[in-house]
Symmetry: C2
Subunit: 310 residues, 2 copies
């Protein structure tokens, strides 16, 4: 089973897992799953498994599917909190089925993650820690947005928890299941962590500069929620300048004011640079692994994370 076939199998497994006699849960779950996505996290799990010598792809598929489902669950809940209308080029679940069913669909996906992970014994400890961090990161972000203040340290904490912890966990799960050495598991964890940070910074930048159609989601929403603001602060914005942006953002359309400010500064280019450095750090971790097709793929994945336009 090559990587493409494994990813295809993950898709099928996710679709099968969200089967339910309660139609709206099944339909809403399949709606967002069918929209696709980059599937970065399950890729990392599959590749980390292979990179340490794992060969039984059937054994790792449910773990990769669980990693993507927990990510999907948080996207569904994010779209409620952010009033997002578009996601992955489709209407969001809350836009079609309403808030109540979107909330329950997210919960349903969480329960299906349990179902997939149930047979995996100690891997559940890694999984639980990862998921808990993810929700903590989302909450820090919401708190920062609400308070209207966000400094560089808080931004770093947010993206470490909400994105990097999931990438790191995705790698660690695959490497652990593949019976990697402790050093290999740690290296892949660090790879995932740095890749996750890079990925999120690029995401925030793209949200800032892209138009809605290209991104397939309502651009500027992340920004309005205080996410894009982070790009500035993380990448050299000085306090005073940012304070102005925040105040103006509160006075008029927050997204528009902030966007203008950020686009004027040097923030975007500095953000790219930081993301590229992090991707390079991620790649360095892979030096400790033996050469393999999977390792080459992981290297390419790190490049792709910072070279993408959407």
């Amino acid at each position: 089973m090559n990587q493409a076939q494994a990813l295809q199998a993950v898709e099928q497994l996710m679709m099968a897992t969200v089967e339910s006699e309660v139609e709206v849960l099944r339909d809403a779950s399949r709606h967002i799953l069918a929209a696709g996505g980059k599937r970065m996290r399950p890729r990392v799990t599959l590749l980390a498994y292979e990179a340490v010598g794992g060969t039984d792809m059937d054994a790792v598929l449910p773990v990769a599917a669980a990693v993507e489902l927990v990510h999907t669950a948080t996207l569904v809940h994010d779209d409620i909190n952010d009033h997002g209308l578009m996601r992955r080029g489709r209407q969001t679940i809350n836009a079609i089925w309403g808030r109540t069913f979107a909330l329950l669909t997210g919960d349903f996906l969480f329960t299906k993650v349990y179902t997939l992970m149930a047979p995996y014994g100690d891997l559940n400890i890694i999984f639980a820690e990862m998921t808990s961090q993810l929700v903590e990161g989302e909450t820090l972000q919401a708190a920062a947005a609400k308070e209207g203040k966000l400094n560089r340290e808080t931004y770093a904490r947010i993206i470490a928890k909400k994105t990097a912890s999931l990438f790191a966990g995705a790698a660690k799960l695959g490497a652990t299941l593949g019976k990697g050495t402790p050093q290999q598991i740690e290296a892949l964890y660090q790879y995932g962590f740095n890749l996750g940070l890079a990925f999120q910074i690029v995401d925030d930048i793209l949200d800032l500069i892209a138009d809605s159609q290209k991104l397939g989601k309502t651009a500027g929403i992340d920004l309005a929620q205080g996410k894009g603001l982070a790009v500035a602060l993380a990448n050299g914005g000085n306090g005073a300048q940012t304070a102005v942006a925040v105040v103006e953002a509160q006075e008029e359309d927050p997204g528009a004011a902030l966007k203008r400010k950020l686009l004027q500064g040097n923030y975007i280019e500095e953000g790219w640079q930081q993301a590229r450095q992090l991707a390079a750090l991620a790649k360095l971790q892979l030096n400790t692994l033996p050469s393999s097709v999977a390792r080459d793929e992981l290297l390419r994945l790190a490049d792709a994370a910072v070279e993408r336009e959407y």
Copy 2:
């Protein structure tokens, strides 16, 4: 460790489990946990464990805590969907911290359930199935409320999934961990299932007749959401009569109109009768267990479920 001490230990474990460096998650979680509750579900887990001969109470405490936390998570999300302002005599999390943080706190509690259950191997399969059913039941209920139609079969499906499955799972988890025989595990599962049905019917009746203060939550809300309506339908309401109630409910304040209709009929008394029959069925299941303090407690718990006034 007696039952009271074990329950106290479950409380402490839940409080410790929701520790987080993200203060709002910790504070909101502790806010609802500190409000108490009947703790029916963890009681069932602890007692089922002991009833089949389990003696290591420390081993069952995390499972009992996980069962209560998953229940608590759904309460937090329910209060968002129902716009509930009071719960267990306290303001709801959404009333204090707002919808976004309430949603994330519910998600956080779900992740902490993983943490508690991670070391329990195959018990996670039971747990996942139970939790999935729970969310399906909540969804069926929301769908019935939205469509404004609910028949006796749908009500039965809803309470079977949203309440009975959790009670049944709580019992099965304890009995399985306590190394009960297959017959004992099945008997306790059936005990929990019938107890859960009885408990929910009584809950719906109390919601219908109680005033807000006594219940400690906004009375009539469940009714307005189409939950109390179910009492009528499950207990002898004829289709035409109910249709009238539903139509009137849609024309004026749904809660008030429906409440008036239901209080006029014979529904309340029939509901009590049905609940008592189910509690008796639950108790019958316990005949197959050897005499023990735990078995006596389970018998009392079934009585208490249908004799309570709040």
